[in-house]
Each structure stands twice: as structure tokens, then as C-alpha cells.
């Protein structure tokens, strides 16, 4: 009797301990995203993708090598996720602890099980009636930022919201500006230290653009940099009269960050009105520029204006990519920029001085970039009521879809467009909240003006093209490269493509049913298998090698 009791007590104690251990395992707090993880970028083990460009340098270049040029033809779909919403993806998903965090059109967002494609939670923002929204070019979103246990997303009604990563619940919600005045926000936030960096769209609605930093904990604004200087500030005199008040210069594509220099690099949108420029005589700083800002204060360190006094809607809203290069025997810290105006630029990212400026598509409006860093403009390319034919068109030589950079090959990859347009301009009065472009561009057609495009590999030390892969029409897809020598991208007809990044040779393709419009695939490791995740249209599709063995992760 006594023995049995003691056995019972021992069993009870063991059971209690086991229970405690289980509880402990279950309640171990999930690891939080740290500022150090963000600094580390894409890790060698492929366990994370935590920001828009993969790393602060925006290279979209993965160290993963399981999928190679030799075996890429064995890619097989693992699952497909459907949004069940109207509109299409323009997003870069994030991956953390085997869960994907994805933003979609109309400010719907999801946490998705990366193993199965099953939804874990869904967030849907209550938006004003869509007829009242002013996002000029689609009710889209370009992705989350993340820090700690919070996700950050901008909204079409110009707010920034912080969501709980575990539930999708709103933690805080801060208005950037009044959306009824033409402001909207679609940019993927960039998290730097304890701040969330965002910008506003609205360059076609007479806004005054800005870049903001918000405290990740509270949502309180830490600083604001107006992309158009106010009265008394240097550069305000580059806008005639009061045109600076509604000059546009929006910010809707995520910038880069150099932790050593503590500088943010953001491309700034076009001046408004886009085409009729009489009212805004001057260079119109900092429209169509790259600005370098102190990440702690938002103070301007330097700027480089690609297109002074723009007449063609050539926003500098492309993705800046950072790299360390050797040019003319000298080590240079550079920022590379394939611009909408037709030129490819390599700038010194400490000083903003031009190193390389060279056309990468047919470019008719400027002869070259002069030694002073300004374009040498040719006569006859000013839009008017009759229209003037200019290359590239208003959408530009490239646009917001991100390129990639392979540091081992020193190659910059971008989907370039060969399209010309007739540009018209007319005088237009400003009405708050109304579209304010003063003209339009119309794509040129006919046998002499065939619109096409190509994936191009550019040497950033010279601006020379190493190879190109031509498409039958211009692609709007981003690019992902891997250390194994692969470039993933897509064409406008809906094909997902894998190419040899060293030669441009096509290795494998799959018809997704919708183009990778503005999206680029991401890649990561899951249970020992390298995955490539493709947002296209209303779907996310996860790909892995059909014969790669599954190795469940242990933690």
C-alpha cells in the first residue's frame, strides 16, 4: 500500500514536470526580429527575408545555392495561395520563422504558412470609398517592414499602421497626411534602428512630397524631410513663384541604407504638373533626384538630380542599389540607379558625385551626362499641344520594379523598356484633390516605333551591357539573383523565367497566368529545401526542386 502510494506520487511528479516542460516549450516567446537581423540582411542559412530588397543594400541577391543552373528545370510547385480580392500583387513578401507576411491590393494583408500556403490570419483595412482614393496608378501595396513583433504597412488613405505579427491586430495607426488632398501611400516601409521610414505618393495631384520617420514603438513621428524645400531653405528658389507648394516630388519606392555612413538613399518622384512646366520654371529640387539623408535626423547630406526641370514624368522612383566596387583601381562605395529617363548611373554614395552616366535604352532627349553631372539636353523634345515624339516614354526606360545586383559578377540586372511616346502639354489650373498633370504621353506605335523590352545585365563600372534577354513586349517584372548563377524574372505575357545570370541564357519557364507586375520572386530555405516564392496577379506560388529531400528544422 505504502509502495503503491509512493509510485503514484512519483508518477504525479513526473506528469507535473512533463506538463511544465510542455508549457515552457509552448510559451517560449517567439524570437523577435532584431535590428541586428535587419543589418545582417539575407543570412547564409536562408532562414529570413525581412525587408523589401532583402538587405539594406537592396541587392535582391541571395547566397543560396541549392537551386542551380543545372537543376532549375526540376522546379515544381509546392502550393498556390489565392488572394480572393480584386486587384493584383505589387508586393515583396517577408519570411520569418517559416511564416510569410504579405501585403496585397486594397490594403488586405496576410500571414501565410510557408509550408502549406494556408492562411494564418488576414488583415483588411477599412478604406474610404475607392472613388475617393487618389492613388494614381492602382490600389496596390509594395510590402511590409518588420521589427520586434510588429509589421508596418502604409495605406491607400495615407496612413502607417503597425500590426501584431501573431494576429494581424492593429497596434497603432498614424495618419501621414490628409488623403483627400491627393496623398496616398503604397511604399514598403524601411525599418532602420528603431524607426520606420516611409514616403507618400500623389505626384499627379499637386501634393508636396516628403519622407517621414516614425518611432516603431509608438507611431510618433521622429522627423520629416520635405522633398521640396520651403521658403528660406536652399533649393526653394528652383521653383518659380509658389509652385513649390504643389510640386509633387512623391516617394513611393523603398530606398537603401548604408549603416556605416548612417545614410538613407531615396529616389524622388516627378515635379508637377508633369508635362506643362511654365508655372514651375527652375530645376525643381529635389524632384527626380536621389537624396542622401541622415537616418537619425532626416537632414539632407547630399542630392543628385537626374532630370532637372523634368517635362516627361520621369520620376526617379526606381530602386537604388548599393555596392562596393573597384573603379579605375580605386575602391568606391557606390549607389547604382537605372533611371526612368534612359540613363544608368553609378554615383559615389559618400559624396553624391557622378562616376558613370550612360544610356541603357534608346534615349533621344539628351546627348550625354556632362562632367558637371547634368544631362546635355537636345532641342526639340518639349511637350506641347501638338505633341513631341521622345524616347523613352513616360513609363520610362525602367520603373518601380526592382532590379538586382550580383556582387560576385559585378553585374546589375534590370528589366528595361524600349518604348517611345508622343508627349502633349497644356495649361491646367490646380484644384485640390484633382489630377494635376498638365498633359499626357501617348505610346508611339507603328513599325518604326515597336514597343519591346529586355532583361539587361549592366557593368556598373562602365555602364556597358554584358548581355540581354529580349522580350516580345516590355516587362514590368522585378529580378532576383542567386549565388549559384541564376536570375529569376518574368515577361509581360505571364511567363516566370529562370536564366543563367552569367550569360542571359534561358534555362526554364512556366506560364503563371499573370505577369509578375512590379513584383520580384524571393527565395529562402524551408525544411532544408530552397524555395522560390513568386507573387503574380492574385496568386503566390512556392517552388522547390521536385527531388530535394525534406529536412524538418529543429529549434
Amino acid at each position: 500500500m505504502k509502495g503503491r502510494t509512493s509510485v503514484r506520487i512519483v508518477v504525479a511528479i513526473i506528469a507535473a514536470l512533463a506538463c511544465l516542460a510542455t508549457l515552457a516549450a509552448q510559451s517560449a516567446p517567439p524570437p523577435q526580429v532584431t535590428a541586428q537581423e535587419l543589418l545582417n540582411g539575407l543570412p547564409a542559412d536562408g532562414s529570413r527575408w525581412l525587408m523589401f530588397g532583402g538587405s539594406y543594400a537592396n541587392q535582391r541577391h541571395s547566397p543560396l545555392t541549392q537551386i542551380t543552373p543545372e537543376n532549375v528545370n526540376r522546379l515544381a510547385p509546392q502550393w498556390v495561395f489565392q488572394t480572393d480580392t480584386a486587384g493584383r500583387f505589387e508586393t515583396t513578401p517577408l519570411l520569418r520563422d517559416n511564416v510569410l507576411y504579405v501585403t496585397g491590393p486594397l490594403n488586405v494583408a496576410w500571414a501565410v504558412d510557408a509550408r502549406t500556403g494556408r492562411e494564418i490570419w488576414r488583415y483588411k483595412r477599412e478604406l474610404p470609398p475607392t472613388g475617393n482614393l487618389t492613388a494614381c496608378c492602382g490600389l496596390v501595396n509594395r510590402g511590409f517592414g518588420v521589427l520586434g513583433d510588429r509589421l508596418f504597412m502604409t495605406t491607400l488613405d495615407a496612413h502607417l499602421v503597425a500590426l501584431n505579427m501573431k494576429t494581424g491586430g492593429v497596434v497603432w495607426d498614424t495618419a501621414l497626411e490628409d488623403f483627400s488632398k491627393g496623398y496616398a501611400s503604397t511604399i514598403a516601409p524601411l525599418v532602420v534602428k528603431d524607426k520606420v521610414i516611409v514616403g507618400v505618393a500623389g505626384g499627379e495631384y499637386g501634393i508636396r512630397g516628403f519622407i517621414d520617420a516614425y518611432d516603431a514603438k509608438t507611431g510618433a513621428r521622429a522627423w520629416r524631410f520635405y522633398t521640396i524645400p520651403g521658403p528660406g531653405e536652399p533649393g526653394n528658389d528652383t521653383w518659380a513663384g509658389d509652385s513649390w507648394q504643389r510640386g509633387g516630388a512623391s516617394v513611393w519606392v523603398t530606398g537603401a541604407y548604408d549603416p556605416e555612413l548612417n545614410l538613407l538613399y531615396y529616389g524622388i518622384g516627378n515635379p508637377g504638373p508633369d508635362y506643362h512646366s511654365e508655372s514651375r520654371k527652375g530645376d525643381n529640387l529635389y524632384s527626380d533626384s536621389l537624396v542622401a539623408l541622415d537616418a537619425d535626423t532626416g537632414k539632407l547630406r547630399w542630392h543628385y538630380q537626374f532630370t532637372p526641370h523634368d517635362l516627361h514624368d520621369w520620376d526617379a522612383t526606381e530602386v537604388p542599389i548599393l555596392a562596393d566596387l573597384t573603379i579605375a583601381g580605386q575602391p568606391r562605395k557606390v549607389v547604382m540607379f537605372a533611371n526612368r529617363n534612359g540613363f544608368f548611373y553609378t554615383l559615389d554614395r559618400t559624396t553624391g558625385k557622378l562616376i558613370v552616366g550612360k544610356p541603357y535604352v534608346v534615349t533621344t532627349w539628351a546627348k550625354e551626362i556632362g562632367a558637371d553631372g547634368r544631362p546635355v539636353i537636345l532641342a526639340g523634345y518639349v511637350p506641347d499641344e501638338k505633341g513631341s515624339l521622345t524616347c523613352p516614354d513616360a513609363t520610362g526606360a525602367t520603373n518601380f520594379w526592382p532590379g538586382s545586383y550580383d556582387p560576385a559578377q559585378h553585374l546589375f540586372f534590370v528589366n528595361a523598356r524600349e518604348v517611345c511616346a508622343t508627349f502633349y502639354a497644356w495649361k491646367q489650373e490646380y484644384v485640390p484633390g484633382e489630377r494635376y498633370t498638365g498633359g499626357a504621353g501617348q505610346r508611339a506605335t507603328g513599325p518604326d516605333n515597336r514597343a519591346w523590352g529586355a532583361l539587361r545585365a549592366i557593368d556598373p563600372t562602365t555602364g556597358e551591357r554584358k548581355w540581354e534577354f529580349p522580350y516580345i513586349s516590355p516587362s514590368t517584372a522585378g529580378v532576383l539573383t542567386t549565388a549559384s548563377g541564376l536570375a529569376f524574372s518574368g515577361d509581360a505575357e505571364g511567363n516566370f523565367l529562370a536564366l543563367d545570370s552569367r550569360t542571359g541564357k534561358l534555362l526554364w519557364h512556366f506560364q503563371m497566368g499573370s505577369a509578375l507586375h512590379g513584383t520580384s520572386p524571393i527565395t529562402y530555405m524551408l525544411d532544408g529545401r530552397q524555395h522560390v516564392l513568386v507573387p503574380a496577379g492574385t496568386t503566390l506560388t512556392a517552388w522547390a526542386l521536385s527531388d530535394s529531400p525534406r529536412v524538418p528544422a529543429t529549434r
Binding site: 502633349y424 499626357a440 505575357e493
Partner: protein, 275 residues
Amino acid sequence: MRSIYFVLVVVIVAAANLLAQDVYLKIPADPPTKNPLEGNADAITAGMGAYRVRCADCHGMDARGIRGPDISQVWVRGRTDAALFRTIRNGVPNTEMPAHPAPRTSDLDIWRILAYLKTISPTTAAAPGSGNATSGEHVFSSNCIGCHRIGDRGGNLGPDLSRIGAARARAAMARQIRGTMGSFRTGYEPVTLTTPNGQEIQGVKKNEDLFSVQVMDTRERIQGYLREDLRTVSDEKKSAMPVFGPDKLSDADLDDLLSYLESLQGITPAPSSAR
């Protein structure tokens, strides 16, 4: 009889509008019945630019129609500002006329375009064509029906012409028939595929990408082909439609044919039959 059909159509259109309003809750309140910007000089200038960029490709710089119909006659034919506004805003279903939704196109954008269009529109109706539509139908049956379809009869290689009278200007149709129009409509570009054994497949291109091409061949077989299975895929410069010069089709026959084509305004939905 005709007036009964007219009333029926009006009722059906009105019912469809009501239905549409129930389904799409966000359709804004009806616009004003009269263009608030009519005669406004700034609006006309802005409207001219917008018209040239967004409308002229199909409707012509002079609004007399190229691929799209002549829209200089809309007011003299009794269309109202409000109806024209709705046509631009919502587009015309199953045609190339797209919708122009907000926020990309604001109410003011549409009024500006209409303000400009009014300035280039005549105040009196153009004289109707002199041809005889009944004779024109015979011309059609002996020359065109092999490739073009009207309702339930005719071929499929060329565009369906059941509502061509509503979609194209008379002058544009004349140019097309006489062979003086250079462009092909999307989906009807002539193409020749050559198989590895040298066989040629001629037809019109329905779609294509880097790896494949989808065609309707001259026997009206619709089929997709992989480029890797073909020796060549050649885009032809010449339209699949023969040129009907004055030697093949007299001016009088052309006049009759055009009058017949103008009478083709689409298929009126039949009411459901009682059981």
C-alpha cells in the same frame, strides 16, 4: 413594330442600369445632365489634349472615326451630355471602348473631353449615305460572308460585324474595304507557321508569348502551337482580307454595301419565351 422594339430596348437598358446600380454600390450619384464646363476655354484646351491622347487613336483627331465610330455626330443624333458622360465612364461592354474609372479619370477630365468634342462637332446631321441596304446585303453575301459573321451566319476568320454600324464610321469601313488601311486589329494579325517538314499553316494570330502562338487557321481551326515545334513563325505584312478595288467592287456596290453595314447595330436580346 419598330417603335415597340425601341421601347423594349429602352426598358431593358433602364432595367440593366438599375441592376448595375444595385450590384455596384460605389457608382457615384448621376452626373449633372448638362456639361458644366461647356464653352469654358481652359477646359476646352485641356480637353483637346486629353482627347488627342486618350480618344483620337480610335475615333480620329477630327472625331470622324478611324477604328472607333464617328463621334462627331453624337449630339445631332440626340445623345445627351449625361449619357455621353456615362459611356466614357463605364465604357461599352464587349467592344474595344474601355471604361475610364476614378480615380485615374476624374469627373472633370470627362467633362473637359466632352467640352472639347462639342467644339469640333457639327450642329446639323450629316446626310445619310446614298446606297441601298438591301442591295448591299447581296453584295455582302457574295463577297464577305465567307470570313465575316453577322449574327448566326458567316465565317469566323475575320471580325464579327453584327454591330459594325455602331462601331465604325462609314468612311473608315470604306477605307478598310478598299485596302487603304494599314493596321490589323488585335487578334486578326496574319501569320504563317512553318512545320519542320515544310508544311505551311496560314491564319490569324489570336495570342502569343515567347514560347507559343495561338492561331485560327484558314479552315477556322483554333489551335495553340509551341514555337519549339515549328521551324518558323512569320508575321505577314499583308492583311488576310483581300483588297476590294474598284475593279472588284464598283463605287455603287460599295455604297450599297456600306449602307447595309451601317444598318448593322447589334443583336437585340429576345424576350424569354412563355412556357
